[in-house]
């Protein structure tokens, strides 16, 4: 990040206002208070079938304050940030929370060392240094590459946004964290037609960093390949074989499986029923930590500190230092994702999983970057080891029940494996599988790590938060596919 933009963004936040908010909350009787003062600059572009729809810029800024009053937890926020405004905000939150404490849960926060830190993600190409012309040009390059692929791509929907978030966290225990994180986000939705078949593909890429991250992904080449593969799949795709077969799942599939069937059910707030009416609960219970859920080959972590990741942070939205947290080690459930509140309930320390999508949302337990750890094989070795099977490169439709026990993944680009080699494409191979069956059937993991981006939804009102999910290719033995 350039010195010029650092100075400019420092000016954007009046840190004293956040300090004032927690002081005032304490003065009116809060046992605990924290505040997040945030400012995010956003630029966004949409290209529909080659036509720019609208370009937008925005600066989203405001303050969110949490307080514990009469043992109950309250949250309030406003984008009108002034001392008088903050007083009114805190007063209102305290009044409602006091009243609610009559039927409120008594909130305990696990003890944590107050951290003081400043950190930032550097940009090679500063987001603020490029105008709409250069950013739109990157999208038109993708459009041109799609059209050059010589397929009937009747729907081309491209979306690109960049964000620069400056955030100051402060709490009544002495924690003070200032962070500056730039992010880029690109997603596409294409419709390819061939004869009487149509096929659609959506995918997303995101990273923490400057605009170089957009160039580094080489979207024109990626999309051209995607279009060609989709067309081939429609033209030549056969039904998946019947009966139990071996499947090699490529990193995109591995990633979505980790996110949906490991990351989500390991969120401790779901285990405690806090998300029951929204994103659901979990098949995991307190007692299951230490139990086997997969084969010895399965090692899974969530790590917010992965450099350049879409879910990157070093301190969470409760000011707790983040690090790699193990969820499954050699097939055994080794831990859950915690914030200070769930950690207090479990009698452990927080592992820094409290995140909010912005100043206007309460921090709750979230994933950041969930991945299967790499193994000793290569992807080629996994494929070579399969007699008759299916290689699932990516997917389109997927879902999982709200306890995270039964999932469905329908392949988009997929190929038959015959005698250890990739053969003809497979049309819509569908895997419906339970979580224990899935992770119990993974018997080998490759080393070809990939990280993919998603915007994960949870909470009410919805908090759509940037995450990475990924890992290497995995061999899944003896499972059944359908159409």
């Amino acid at each position: 990040m350039s010195a010029k933009s650092a100075a400019k963004s420092e000016d954007a936040l009046d840190l004293d206002l956040a300090n004032f908010a927690i002081d005032y909350a304490r003065r009116i009787g809060a046992r605990y208070a924290d505040a997040r003062l945030e400012s995010t600059s956003v630029n966004g572009f949409v290209l529909k079938n080659g036509i720019p729809q609208i370009s937008g810029f925005d600066r989203v800024s405001g303050i969110g304050v949490r307080l514990v009053v009469n043992g109950a937890l309250g949250f309030a926020c406003s984008n009108a940030v002034s001392r008088e405004g903050i007083k009114a905000l805190v007063d209102r939150a305290a009044k409602i929370t006091r009243a609610a404490s009559r039927i409120g849960e008594k909130i305990l926060l696990c003890p944590e060392k107050p951290e003081t830190a400043r950190y930032e993600v550097r940009q090679k190409i500063n987001l603020a240094d490029l105008g709409p012309k250069e950013k739109l040009a990157a999208m038109f390059d993708v459009e041109k590459a799609i059209l050059k692929a010589k397929a009937n791509v009747s729907g081309r929907f491209l979306n690109m946004s960049d964000f620069y978030t400056e955030k100051y966290f402060v709490n009544s225990e002495g924690g003070k964290i200032l962070s500056r994180i730039p992010r880029t986000d690109f997603w596409y939705f294409i419709t390819v037609e061939d004869g009487n078949r149509t096929s659609q593909r959506y995918w997303q890429y995101g990273a923490a960093g400057g605009f170089e991250t957009i160039y580094n992904y080489r979207f024109p080449e990626l999309l051209a390949e995607e279009v060609k593969a989709t067309q081939k799949n429609m033209k030549e795709g056969v039904k998946p074989p019947k009966g139990k077969i071996d499947v090699v799942a490529a990193p995109q599939i591995t990633g979505i499986m980790v996110h949906e069937s490991v990351g989500h059910p390991y969120e401790a707030d779901r285990v405690l029923g806090r998300e029951a009416a929204q994103a659901g609960e979990s098949f995991i219970s307190k007692k299951m930590v230490g139990a086997r859920i997969g084969s010895e080959a399965v090692n899974i972590v969530d790590d917010p500190t992965l450099p350049g990741s879409f879910g990157y942070y070093l301190y969470d939205d409760e000011g707790v230092k983040a690090g790699e947290r193990w969820l499954i080690r050699k097939g055994i459930i080794s831990g859950l994702l915690h914030n200070r509140e769930t950690a207090a309930e479990f009698g452990c320390a927080s592992n820094g999983a409290a995140r909010a999508t912005g100043y206007d949302r309460e921090p709750i337990v979230r994933m950041a970057n969930s991945i299967v750890k790499p193994g000793d094989y290569s992807e080629v070795e996994l494929i070579e080891s399969v007699g008759t099977g299916v290689f699932l490169k990516n997917f389109m439709e997927w879902n999982i029940d709200d306890k995270r026990l039964n999932a469905k993944y329908t392949g988009a680009e997929a190929y038959m494996i015959r005698n250890g080699r990739l053969a003809e494409p497979v049309w819509r191979p569908t895997m419906e599988i339970s979580t224990p069956k899935l992770w119990g059937s993974v018997d080998a993991v490759a080393g070809n790590m990939e990280y993919h981006a998603g915007t994960c939804g949870k909470a009410e009102p919805m908090q759509a938060i940037p995450v990475w999910f990924g890992g290497p290719s995995m061999r899944i033995r003896k499972i059944q596919l359908s159409v």
């Binding site: 409602i96 006091r98 009243a99 039927i103 849960e105 038109f140 029923g273 009416a277 439709e397 026990l405």
Partner: protein, 452 residues
């Protein structure tokens, strides 16, 4: 004048200043809205309030067309100086942007507006911390009907939106909302969900919702694993609203043009059985998203999307309507038209009569995680959650679990054979477009499950 509308004056002055300035600087069209909103929420879990939340926001939203270069931004600081800076940035941004050759302008005002009934209730703005008593009553009602624990939200909103355009539109919309969602549990695998919403307090029924959620949960105790196959399915209003939301989105011309609609190319054609009548109604009394005007200030109206199974219209704003040689349906979205409130036409059957028509079927009381394999063909799947009940030979046999609906949206609409005679207005976590719908009976729905 109440507090929420009272804070609007400076913003409205700024809006007028911005419209004038944008025109002076060369914008062909300008749309500026000022919004002020206060929201309070009680979030509860395990039958206790887990968090109280409150939001206050005020903003000026700006849209400018400079020729056909379209730019939008929002402003939190409503001072004239901040507005001047924003206009400077808009014009600089537009200078470097690329034209949208599809854009054909905004509506020409002025218009006169009719205030729909039941849009605003001072009692909601005055609720304050007494909302806790309403929630307490609802939780107690659920427990009295057999729930062991409950989770959900009770939320109230008051807002004021003032709209000004360069084409002589000047309009204001002031409203209140109350929303309640409860999931009741008897045990981990026996649950029920119900929601209610209203623009006025006297029609807000959280205790009734709580009772219904608890009754479903109680009936869902000890579910048996379901068997995959084809079933006739009775969808309660909550899950059917989830599916209708996808139909409503598919009706937007923006999604049709983007190939994200299973209604594309089907205008005038059959997309459902004769029992299917779907309206988008921006004027619906007590409709959760009812508004006097759309985002460009055109007075809202009733649009018949599907009539007796035939697709009658897509949803348009002025620009898309001009492009397709039709009249706007008053559904702006300045870029993408959107439904306000979806209304599915009522039928004549009560629940028991519908159950009696089913030889082998399911009652689905909720779904979640609806995802499409192909938006253009309508191939999708969704997962029943909460109480799901097996019907055999016209009688409910008992609760079942672990099934998935894997079918096609158009096929679902075409296989509707009976429609219930009582409607519910649904809004919630899985239904973002408010939808008034009765239960429906859909024949021959494909049901799948995990293979061990």
């Amino acid at each position: 004048m109440d507090e929420i509308a009272g804070g609007m004056e400076e913003g409205k002055k700024t809006a007028a200043y911005v419209v004038k300035l944008l025109k002076k600087r060369g914008a062909s069209d300008a749309v500026v809205s000022v919004t002020r909103e206060d929201v309070s929420q009680l979030k509860f879990a395990n039958s206790r309030v887990s968090t109280t939340q409150s939001w206050h926001s005020e903003k000026v939203s700006m849209f400018a067309a400079v020729g056909r270069k379209l730019v939008s931004t929002n402003l939190r600081d409503v001072s004239e100086k901040a507005a001047l800076d924003a206009v400077d940035r808009i014009m600089k941004f537009a200078a470097a942007a690329v034209p949208n050759k599809e854009y054909l302008g905004i509506a020409d005002g002025p218009f006169s507006y009719r205030q729909p009934d039941d849009m605003y209730d001072k009692e909601i703005t005055r609720l304050g911390d007494t909302a806790v008593d309403i929630l307490d009553g609802a939780i107690n009602a659920a427990h009295a009907n057999g729930a062991r624990r409950t989770a959900g939200v009770l939320e109230t909103t008051s807002f004021c939106i003032s709209l000004l355009t360069s084409n002589s539109v000047e309009a204001e919309n002031r409203g209140t909302k109350a929303y309640f969602s409860m999931r009741a549990f008897v045990d981990k695998y026996a649950s029920g969900h119900h929601t209610c919403n209203s623009r006025v307090l006297r029609k807000f029924t959280p205790e009734m919702s709580a009772e219904r959620a608890a009754i479903i949960a109680k009936q869902a105790i000890r579910p048996e694993p379901g068997i995959p196959g084809n079933y006739d399915v009775i969808f309660s209003p909550l899950p059917f609203a989830n599916l209708l939301e996808s139909v409503g989105k598919a009706a937007s011309i923006f999604n049709v043009e983007s190939k994200l609609s299973c209604l594309g190319g089907k205008l005038g054609k059959r997309v459902g059985s004769e029992d299917v009548c779907l309206i988008d109604d921006g004027t619906l009394p007590n409709g959760f998203d009812t508004a006097p005007f759309d985002e460009e200030g055109v007075p809202t109206q009733k649009n018949v999307i599907i009539d007796e199974g035939l697709l009658k219209t897509y949803l348009h704003n002025t620009s898309s309507a001009r492009r397709h040689n039709v009249k706007t349906t008053a559904n702006a979205g300045l870029i993408a038209p959107n439904p306000f409130n979806l209304v599915f036409g009522k039928g004549s059957f009560n629940k028991e009569e519908m159950i009696r028509q089913v030889k082998r079927g399911l009652i689905v009381t909720n779904v979640w995680y609806t995802r499409f394999q192909n938006y253009e063909t309508g191939d999708f799947s969704t997962i029943p959650r909460d109480g799901m009940f097996l019907i055999e030979n016209g009688k409910v046999v008992g609760p079942v679990k672990e099934l998935r609906i894997s079918d096609n949206l158009i096929r679902i609409l075409q296989n509707i054979s009976a429609v219930g005679n009582g409607s519910e207005q649904v809004f919630g976590w899985e239904v973002e477009i408010p939808t008034l719908t009765p239960p429906v009976l859909v024949r021959d729905v494909r049901i799948t499950k995990s293979v061990e």
